[in-house]
């Protein structure tokens, strides 16, 4: 379309065409300088961690951030965009983890095991999400929440008890395909050894990035617009001709599939999967907090929320340890800042931030710009 035809249109609100960045971000840019900057910092930090910060702890934290960004973003599709509350999100995360762990443990450390484990996990997650949605979303969104809670609890118990298959409470370790093992060496670059560990990190990074951009596309598609309409007024969405229950089931299946991929990535990264790393309700609460703190219904909120949360989890204890030591002379303050109290402080920080930014961090940043 030429400029002449554009300007001859009665109203000039037509979106601009073209632009690679616009296509990648699905016409949904951060819309705030501060947010753009923050996202860029997170992206660059995640890209550069293997070269900038030596040691396994920073790399582990970075990988965890990538994985939780994907997990939180997939949860936001459901919570923030569609307006339904699921308590089964970590169940799908766990299915992804177990799919990889069981396949690599039982079928051998090959890429085809990775493939089989992932595909089997995706199929199981899709089937479960579909059935849960079909039996509960017809009734009411709140019924869906209750059913997800029940099913997720049952799966947690099942995974802990079927130790022959899942490794029970202890979980299950396994070997990775040779290319992802630390012993696999390709040389060095910028004084950093290019080994299997580094390849595993970039596998996690790029899959998480690609999946995040795919979710961003889905929420900005005609389909995604319907999800938002349903969140706003399901009654009118139905009257306009959108079968609300089908759209909700579809959203729930997509969200479950993305969570499954995240779980598979975590298992690959840890070379282990167990109830505490992927299935537990504690993680479910973490993900809920990440989405709410970051800003529901924004996708970018998941990035900020997950990055902050994982960093706080990893480094707040360290920080508190040093504060506590320096306050050793003041008994009450020293015990309040003892590293064991880190969850208390995290809780206080979160309550304070939800109170101060009801629209999450992204909502706050967008408002100021």
């Amino acid at each position: 379309m030429t400029d002449a035809t554009l300007s001859s249109l009665p109203v000039s609100s037509l979106p601009r065409q073209g632009g690679l960045l616009r296509t990648i971000l699905s016409a949904d840019p951060p819309r705030s300088k501060a947010l753009s900057l923050l996202l860029l910092v997170v992206l660059l930090a995640l890209v550069a961690t293997p070269f900038a910060l030596p040691g396994s702890q920073p790399l582990g934290t970075a990988a965890k951030i990538c994985i939780f960004i994907l997990l939180a973003a997939s949860y936001d599709l459901l919570l923030g965009y569609t307006g339904i509350v699921s308590f089964a999100h970590t169940m799908f995360f766990g299915i992804g983890g177990y799919g990889i762990a069981i396949a690599l443990n039982k079928l051998g450390a090959t890429w085809s095991s990775v493939f089989i484990g992932l595909v089997a996990a995706l199929a199981l997650s899709a089937a479960l999400a579909f059935i849960i949605g079909l039996v509960s979303l017809r009734v009411r969104a709140i019924f869906f929440s209750m059913i997800t809670l029940a099913v997720a609890s049952a799966v947690l118990v099942l995974a802990s008890q079927m130790s022959g298959i899942t490794g029970g409470e202890d979980g299950m370790s396994f070997q990775l395909p040779p290319e992802l093992r630390p012993a696999f060496k390709l040389g060095t670059f910028l004084d950093t050894a290019i080994n299997g560990r580094l390849l595993a990190y970039y596998l996690v990074f790029f899959v998480a990035l690609g999946m995040f951009l795919l979710l961003l596309r889905i929420v900005n598609s005609p389909f995604g617009r319907v999800l938002q309409a349903i969140r706003e007024n399901e009654f009118r969405a139905e009257a306009l001709g959108y079968r609300v229950v089908s759209y909700r089931i579809a959203a729930s299946v997509i969200s479950a599939l993305a969570a499954t991929v995240a779980g598979a990535l975590l298992a690959l990264w840890l070379r282990y999967n167990g109830p505490d790393t992927t299935l537990s309700f504690a993680i479910m609460i973490d993900v809920l907090l990440m989405v709410v703190i970051g800003g529901m219904g924004t996708m970018y909120g998941a990035v900020i929320g997950a990055a902050l949360f994982v960093l706080a989890q990893s480094y707040l204890q360290v920080l508190m340890g040093s504060i506590s030591e320096s306050l050793a002379a003041v008994p009450l303050l020293a015990s309040l800042t003892h590293p064991d109290r880190w969850l208390l402080w995290l809780g206080i920080l979160f309550v304070a931030s939800v109170y101060a930014f009801p629209g999450g961090i992204v909502g706050r940043l967008r408002k100021t710009s």
Partner: protein
Amino acid sequence: MASASNPTPALETRGLTIRFGGHVAVNAVSCAFQPGTLTAIVGPNGAGKTTYFNLISGQLKATAGSVLVDGRDITRLPASARTHRGLGRAFQLTNLFPQLTALENVRLAIQSRAGAGWSMFNIWDTRRDLIEEAEAMLETVHLADKRHLSPKTLSHGDQRKLEVALLMALDPKIYMFDEPTAGMSVDEVPTVLELIHQIKARGDRTILLVEHKMDVVRSLADRIIVLHNGALVADGEPASVIASPIVQEAYLGLEAAHD
């Protein structure tokens, strides 16, 4: 079978009934609406007009009776499927997407008609034709300059116009207007009536209009039906129905209170 003088009705209800506990809100209403006609539905507040609409468009499930579109039974279909069969509805109580822009409200209606709701991997604005059509529709209802405002920030009259725009964007075979001008300022009313008149003038659309203003009904309707306590109590040419004792007694007394 339908004959030339009496074709298959565009819409028909047979013994349509709904009970809320002991209260029968719509009581065995049987009525056929011929293609291309405008039928006004009148009756005092609480007569069951909105509930009758809700039963036809599927917001409520009937206790008994059936709804037929083009002779086919749609009683068991959900509201969304009825919309695709050609039933379109504007609501008496404004019923929009409060946080989305006026443009997006209308675009969603057009997107539904275009069957594009399941497209997941394109950016929503790839379908520029849908956006352009939505803009044109807002122009039609004089809301073009407010297209980036959300309904919650619009005046009541503008919300009513947007409500009408959503229905027109769907362009159904059967238009159902539920008191479209209620609560509008006097200078806004003619806009909406003119739009309804234009739809009628096309001749291929069937229109059901719940309206209290008798002059409006007289000028637009081919036929009037009267609901009272959920039952259909009068049906016929506007002049004769308005003159009938039951309307004079049960309804027109109330109209004075309305105006």
